[in-house]
Symmetry: C2
Subunit: 375 residues, 2 copies
């Protein structure tokens, strides 16, 4: 597809065999053009041993390079969850792995206590972590391959580079047709996945989504959100009324043996949105201590002192973390107070939890902190 | 403690060293007398190789008998979760294990589809399952040991017996003092854990609890509920106002490699409580299919057609089941509709879930079934 004509309700498509163009008319159109990896824009960014990772083709290119060229040292730019997951993948293949990070900790958008656990996990697994280290140039050899990375801190030899610095929504086609973008730069939409143009819907990584906690349209390009938006866009385009209320901002990832999961707002974000923010952090066993596989986990709850409501939660631990966070995602959806959360009736059995689940402990401790602060 | 005098606000206690009696006065009293195992009342029920299992002493008695007498065959009476968990424990020690059940399936209070999974799991692990088989007599040798079990179906030789047929609340002390019992036979209480007598509270396996879905006071003697009731009783007795709203009826257990979890009402119970009940059952992967350890799981949702609300959920599978159920426990607490559940924002990552979590798939399929039934 190369052009949308919203007045004539037609799209122009190119036949990729002979590059001939034709027009197809539509009754309803759904723009689901997705996103693409952001690429560095410093000297050497076009080198053939600089990779990004979003789709299967990217993964195949990386794997082929690893097999054919047998690099010994890989440098990852960016400490987000793609960069962290790739630390594990590269280390499992035995590569010396360097993680370049703009900030002092990986996963810098999470709470410090969580990021510190991540840092411990990656360094224990042999990753070289390079904080406050932003590349200014990729130095290449005569074959156009990067051989070292120059940062404000020094020059680091490397055999290949993975840039994991986020994604950019593919909005060019939509914008050209007059589809409005939001302030995040992604396509603006409403709760029915409609754009500003009649009969044109949008879904997925190219558009915004409403955050129920910050009460803001945000850009959160995640597979599960795209999936739900697609269903709602499809139902509306097909004439069934459907609404996608929005998200609370849940995500999880695994880095080596550490599970990390979060939902809702972090402390700083909650503050910026005007909440009277406080937090509580606890450490607890993932299941009854005498059960095999029991592991310590940390839970940090962010809450609003005025309303007593949960605003966000972040967790890290080696067992039973990622699937626990969804309980708090539901609590956020429902605007539950910590008092209510502390009394929830969970399924208890020793192989899965303690009689007082870590979430209940965290909520109860948060309630106590609130009470103390009001005395 | 042997007596409560609610008028004088005194209790009588016995010193177990010299059996002397003394009186202690109280300002507030919390009755937390717990429950005891129900024992069979057929001939031979007093035999020394008939065991029950509730506390640590019971467990030690069973273990000692296993070590000293090396029984080869064990018979379990009762197909509830204690009986099922003990099937696993006995099989792991190599005993021939016989499970006697009143009904045609184990865990007969759960939905048939779940009970069938349990039956498959225990028989694959070598348990002899004996349905519709209620013992009428335990035949003993001259040393007072059970050597066989007689049922309506036959005579089964055995070296020991475990009776796992439920518990009875310890209410005698309370009743004698004039504390009212509920229709379940356990101590009647209110949302502040008060009894009918002034300054006397109660908590735990000796008292009732409110079920938020059936809107009924029920007897659900589970550790996690006891735990919460104890906190609320304690806070109120100490002068802090606290409320325990009730439970939705969540529980989980593991039998061999199978995780079983449930919350809320089953189909039949929901019907009896007057709901316009329907159900949906789905099978899905516990995480993305290509991830190691991914297993199929089943989810059955029970819902009310009139309101579109969830009433209950039951799950079984070898991975990722028990901790998933709590999400639906929260949904039940909040009275959420299946429409709302289907759009929840869960944390997605391939090691933990598919982009569309099994719970979301189940909810969406339930919504579709409701829509079809209304056409």
């Amino acid at each position: 597809m190369t052009k949308i004509d919203p007045n004539e309700k037609k799209i122009e498509v190119v036949n990729l065999d002979d590059f001939s163009r034709s027009h197809i008319s539509y009754d309803k159109l759904i723009i689901a053009t997705g996103a693409r990896s952001r690429k560095p824009s410093i000297p050497g960014s076009q080198a053939k041993n600089l990779f990004t990772l979003k789709d299967l083709q990217d993964a195949i290119a990386i794997k082929t390079y690893l097999e054919e060229r047998e690099p010994k040292r890989v440098s990852i730019i960016g400490g987000g969850f793609i960069g962290l997951e790739m630390c594990e993948a590269f280390r499992l293949r035995g590569l010396e792995t360097y993680l370049f990070c703009r900030r002092d900790l990986p996963a810098g958008n999470l709470e410090r206590e969580i990021s510190e656990k991540i840092l411990k996990e990656i360094t224990e697994n042999g990753v070289h972590f390079l904080p406050y280290n932003e590349p200014v140039s990729f130095n290449q050899n005569s074959e156009g391959e990067i051989t070292s990375i120059e940062t404000s801190k020094g020059v680091y030899p490397t055999d290949m580079v993975l840039a994991a610095i986020g994604v950019i929504p593919n909005v060019e086609l939509a914008k050209e047709a007059g589809v409005e973008l939001g302030k995040t730069g992604a396509i603006r939409t409403d709760f029915a996945q409609r754009t500003n143009l009649k009969d044109i819907y949008t879904a997925g990584d190219c558009c915004e989504v409403f955050n129920l906690i910050s009460k803001n349209w945000v850009y959160t390009p995640l597979a599960d959100i795209a999936n739900k938006q697609g269903r709602v866009a499809g139902e509306n385009a097909a004439g069934v009324k459907a609404i996608f209320d929005g998200v609370v901002g849940s995500a999880a990832f695994k880095v080596f043996e550490l599970e990390v999961a979060f939902t809702g707002l972090g402390f700083q974000a909650a503050k910026e949105y005007g909440y009277d923010v406080d937090w509580q952090i606890i450490e607890a066993d993932s299941k009854v201590g005498y059960m095999p596989g029991s592991e310590r986990m940390i839970i940090k709850l962010i809450f609003d002192r005025r309303s007593g409501k949960l605003l966000g939660a972040q967790m890290a631990g080696k067992e039973g973390v990622a699937r626990r966070i969804n309980v708090l995602a539901v609590a956020l959806h429902q605007g539950m107070t910590l008092d209510q959360i502390a009394r929830l009736d969970f399924a208890y059995a020793p192989p899965f939890s303690a009689p007082f689940d870590p979430i209940l402990i965290a909520a109860e401790q948060a309630v106590k902190k609130m009470r103390r602060s009001k005395m």
